[in-house]
Amino acid sequence: MNQETWRLIGYILVMAGVTYAIRALPLTLFRKNITNVYIRSFLKYIPYAVLGAMTLPAIFFSTDSVISAIIGLAVAAVLAYREKSLLTVAAAACGAVFLAERLLPLVF
């Protein structure tokens, strides 16, 4: 193997090692229940906050045009409000974007 291959393997090991350690240490070391009300609440709210921060505004730029993304967002929001399954909501959003991107150019 040449030097470039070893260099790449080094990078991959560093990336994988650091990333895994960050994930594994807290999960394997934290066994007891946290009793502090504020920490518990913080940990309870964090997933929703992460998802919210990741979804907006990123969703607007997740497709070829902001308009198709808004249409996809609207469809997903309505179905999510009606508590449809994850797969249904995701698939419907994709379908709406696909249709919107085919149909919109015909209108404008």
Partner: protein
């Protein structure tokens, strides 16, 4: 007992399918970008199979291209992926207590934003079976997408790629909207997080902050406000 555990594995697997689909387009992009940047196909695939993280991999790719040092790489990965430590701590509270160390080490590997979000909003405490099932499709999707992106370049027509881009966000909405509908604290936390992340995207002075940090800051602040405004005792839902 056995049936119940298999059911959990299957339920996890089902919950993971939308994540896997969503990952396809992201890792496809990663595979394409890596090869375009001059990386061999095997390295792109190896990175995806060992890292399983989007922001970290994209940052890593640009650093490899720039011939960064290993220490610099390690620091960058630490900062970008620090949010996983937060998620890992949070998930440790949602894991059945009896889950053994080897299982925990296996579960750790697959903690991504999406896997974490689905697992920690499950109505019951999750175990190794559920997590194994949940991680299957995302891991497969992430790897397959990288392979396709790296090997075939533009295999998916752009129209399909564009439509798949929204899949993951549609799924996020399906996760957060129902609880936000029922719980005022969750609604407020969500609104705060969204407002903050929009500020980071659109206020010129703040747009320089990296994606990983934006998520840490916004989610951290929003959850902190939530914890102060609406501290919830155990058992309250």
């Amino acid at each position: 007992m056995k049936t119940a555990r298999n059911t959990r594995f299957f339920e996890g697997f089902q919950d993971g399918i939308p994540i896997g689909l969503g990952y396809l387009s992201v890792s496809f992009t990663f595979g394409m970008m890596a090869v375009t940047a001059g990386m061999p196909v095997w390295a792109a695939i190896a990175i995806s199979m060992t890292n399983l993280t989007s922001a970290g991999q994209f940052a890593g790719l640009s650093m490899i291209t720039a011939s960064a040092g290993y220490l610099e790489m390690a620091l960058a990965q630490l900062i970008i992926n620090l949010r996983y430590a937060l998620m890992s701590i949070s998930l440790s509270q949602r894991l059945e207590k009896w889950v053994k160390t080897p299982d925990r080490m296996g579960i750790s590997f697959g903690i991504t934003d999406e896997v974490f979000a689905v697992a920690s909003t499950k109505e019951y405490k999750v175990d190794g079976r559920y997590m194994g099932g949940l991680m299957l499709a995302p891991y497969f999707g992430w790897t397959l997408g990288t392979v396709l992106g790296a090997v075939a370049g533009e295999l998916l027509p752009p129209s399909v790629q564009s439509a798949l881009g929204i899949a993951i966000y549609g799924m996020f909405l399906a996760i957060v909207v129902p609880p936000a509908k029922k719980s005022l604290p969750v609604f407020v936390v969500l609104l705060l997080a969204v407002t903050l992340s929009c500020l980071f995207r659109f206020v010129p002075a703040l747009t320089g902050v990296s994606e990983g940090f934006v998520i840490i800051i916004c989610a951290g602040l929003a959850a902190l406000c939530g914890a102060i405004l609406f501290p919830e005792k155990e058992g309250e839902q």
